[in-house]
């Protein structure tokens, strides 16, 4: 069921992220933020504007352009009493951090037999259509989802972003938190009161009975638009946002699939060997005897993201693609 948000206050996703960070930094002096141009510039996307004024440049710390290095520093600082939040400007740069995140952050707890832990958060961006071309448009979260020891969060609304980021910061494990770079100005209701959202709980963004659309991050909104179109055709679509890809709320996804018997999985990462493959596999297995059609994936086209607008636009699923895929799955119902 969609969580009921009582607040009427509307803020942007960027503001929600900033609020979550600021609240946690006020609450816990061990929390700090580091990354490129995070201080006076407030990040390239201006998400952290003004934070350095409140917390000072010791806690909102500009780094050299050394993604591997400062991620490694975060791992060590997390082990020894701090709670670092590192900022990776474009999620495309996570390749530089994979060794630190996967061979160090994700494994320290296990390799030490549970003795050391790494309570850190990596914030990164994802998403295309910004006309930023192949090295600034990728959604590579599937890499992290694959690795035991990491948690992965992909919020789709300001409300979720705030509540989940606060939980991520309080988590005792390394968490990768993804923000869609095209959604920073997206507005939504966020209560003024403190709240958190637990990691590992999917949210049904819209209830429906004929088809389930599982969607992440920006794709949730494409799915919701498509659901409206489908409604006009008397097709009732349920839209579910897993919110965290690890831990993954398999039950909610499978239950919905059992109810509707038809499923589309949307993700802005590549579908092939991507996050959507896992979700599709989980549903195909868990709802096997209830599905009336194969699970359909709608994801980024399997090409490096091109610069040219007409090309780039062709790589991302749209409400129209979803609408048509849903109709096809329903056999023209």
């Amino acid at each position: 069921m969609p969580e009921t948000i009582t607040a009427t206050r509307e803020i942007t996703l960027g503001e929600a992220v900033r609020e979550a960070l600021a609240e946690e930094m006020r609450r816990d002096s061990r929390v700090f933020v580091m990354g490129e141009d995070v201080a006076q510039a407030g990040t390239a996307f201006k998400v952290l504007s003004g934070m350095v004024d409140e917390f000072g440049s010791d806690r909102v710390l500009d780094t050299p352009i050394s993604e591997a290095g400062f991620t490694g520093i975060a791992v060590g600082a997390a082990m020894t009493g701090m709670r670092p939040v590192v900022d990776i400007m474009f999620g495309d740069f996570v390749g530089l951090t994979m060794d630190q995140m996967v061979n160090q952050a994700a494994k320290v707890h296990y390799m030490s037999g549970g003795k050391w832990k790494v309570p850190m958060v990596m914030r990164a961006t994802l998403g295309a259509t910004r006309r930023s071309a192949a090295q600034h448009s990728q959604s590579l979260h599937a890499w992290f989802c694959h690795i035991p020891g990491l948690k992965v969060v992909l919020p789709s609304t300001p409300y979720d972003a705030k509540g989940l980021l606060k939980s991520a910061i309080r988590d005792e494990n390394p968490v990768v938190f993804y923000e869609d770079k095209m959604m920073f100005r997206f507005k939504g209701p966020v209560p003024a009161e403190e709240y958190t959202i637990p990691l590992g709980v999917a949210d049904i963004k819209r209830e429906g009975s004929d088809i389930t659309i599982v969607a992440t991050s920006s794709m949730v909104h494409v799915a919701l638009s498509a659901a409206k179109l489908l409604e006009e055709e008397d097709i009732s679509a349920e839209v579910i946002d897993p919110r965290t890809l690890w831990p993954l709320d398999e039950k909610t996804l499978i239950d919905s699939a059992k109810k509707t018997s038809r499923v589309i999985v949307m993700d802005e990462g590549y579908g092939r060997y991507g996050a959507a493959a896992e979700i599709a596999a989980v549903i195909a297995e868990g709802a096997f005897f209830d599905l009336e059609a194969p699970v359909k994936r709608l994801c980024a086209m399997h090409v490096p993201i091109p610069f040219s607008p007409p090309l780039e636009d062709a790589t991302v699923p749209t409400e129209k693609t979803v609408f048509e895929a849903a109709r096809a799955l329903l056999g023209g119902k």
């Binding site: 490129e36 141009d37 201080a39 006076q40 510039a41 390239a44 500009d62 780094t63 050299p64 352009i65 050394s66 591997a68 290095g69 495309d92 740069f93 530089l96 910004r130 006309r131 930023s132 071309a133 192949a134 090295q135 600034h136 086209m301 399997h302 090409v303 490096p304 091109p306 610069f307 040219s308 607008p309 007409p310 090309l311 636009d313 062709a314 790589t315």
Partner: protein, 332 residues
């Protein structure tokens, strides 16, 4: 780019020719970039672009010391390098606008212009991302014995990327013909490089076995002279080098970065623009040396402007690629 040299010309005639060629090329970059900004402002260009204005002497001085076959790798702030290495302006603008006629068929955009014909291995949107490629091109040149040299352009921000040191080490060990050309414009985006760079840059290079030299990046002749010396040395098999060109970007980190007061003073910009403009400095020199006068400058300006205008028109009028091209060129 050195064009074929007439054998009977005197040294000073050659020098005069070179100077005017460099002047023209710097101006071409300047006007190119002004038009990029204009296209952005008029909402004709998708995305953003990073202007090279203020740094023209570096690309031009360096590329003057290269042959057409020599390689360069470039950066997000790459238009100047491309133009200096000989790229055609119309296809560059077309690429910036995402048109099919662009150097990359619109697939790359401002940060990925590449052109095998001029030895341009590509601009790169990953800071430090081309250090490996440049070193590999030098590796191939050495193995294939084709006498080519590669210049790896990068901003001082790339000094934060560890891979740069990894490849400098191998270049030194294997005596590869590569020049690491650090354009220190003093800012990593919105952060002054002194906040991100400890120690001493040339000492770093020395630590990895690379001879180095700091050069005034606003003085195209100084850039050319230093580049020539180390490029010739590399071509002769004596190994890599590191050049540190001190410079300044006159405008924002990218075209959208217009309110810059929070990270640098207007006064600082003003000083550089009025006292350290590489084109201005060079024209003063040329006049003093009697190598050119205002009439000649006007003539060059008119020619370059006409070329740039034609290129813009071409690009604006050119068609976009059709959407079905999107999945071509993924695999060779």
């Amino acid at each position: 780019m050195t064009t074929a040299i007439h054998p009977t010309k005197t040294e000073s005639a050659l020098e005069a020719e070179r100077c005017l060629r460099m002047y023209r090329r710097m101006l071409m970059i300047r006007l190119f970039e002004e038009n990029v900004n204009d296209l952005y402002t008029r909402a004709l260009m998708p995305g953003l672009a990073h202007l090279y204005i203020g740094e023209e002497a570096i690309a031009v001085g360096v590329c003057e010391a290269l042959t057409q076959d020599d390689y360069i790798t470039s950066t997000h702030r790459g238009h100047g390098h491309c133009v200096a290495k000989g790229a055609a302006l119309d296809r560059m603008f077309a690429e910036l606008l995402g048109k099919e006629a662009g150097y990359c068929k619109g697939k790359g955009g401002s940060m990925h212009i590449a052109d095998p014909d001029t030895g341009n291995l590509g601009a790169n949107a990953i800071v430090g991302g081309s250090a490996g490629i440049a070193t590999g091109a030098a590796f191939a040149a050495k193995r294939l014995g084709n006498g080519r040299v590669c210049v790896c352009f990068f901003g001082e921000g790339a000094l934060g990327q560890g891979v740069l040191y990894e490849v400098m080490n191998m270049a030194a060990l294997w005596k590869l013909p590569v020049i690491y050309l650090c354009e220190n414009n003093m800012y990593n985006e919105y952060t002054h490089y002194s906040e991100t760079t400890a120690g001493d840059i040339l000492t770093r290079a020395a630590g990895f076995g690379l001879p180095g030299e700091a050069i005034d990046g606003q003085d195209v002749r100084a850039v050319y002279a230093a580049a020539k010396k180390f490029i010739d040395r590399a071509r002769a098999g004596e190994g890599p080098a590191f050049l540190l060109a001190n410079t300044y970007r006159f405008f924002g980190h990218h075209v959208g970065d217009v309110s810059r007061d929070y990270y640098r003073a207007k006064q600082e910009e003003q000083t550089w623009k009025s006292q350290r403009d590489p084109i201005q400095l060079f024209s003063t020199y040329l006049v003093a040396q009697n190598l050119a006068d205002q009439a000649r400058f006007d003539e060059i300006y008119a020619e370059v402007k006409a070329e740039v205008d034609r290129a813009v028109q071409f690009a604006v009028a050119a068609p976009y690629p059709s959407a079905d091209k999107v999945d071509q060129d993924v695999y060779a």
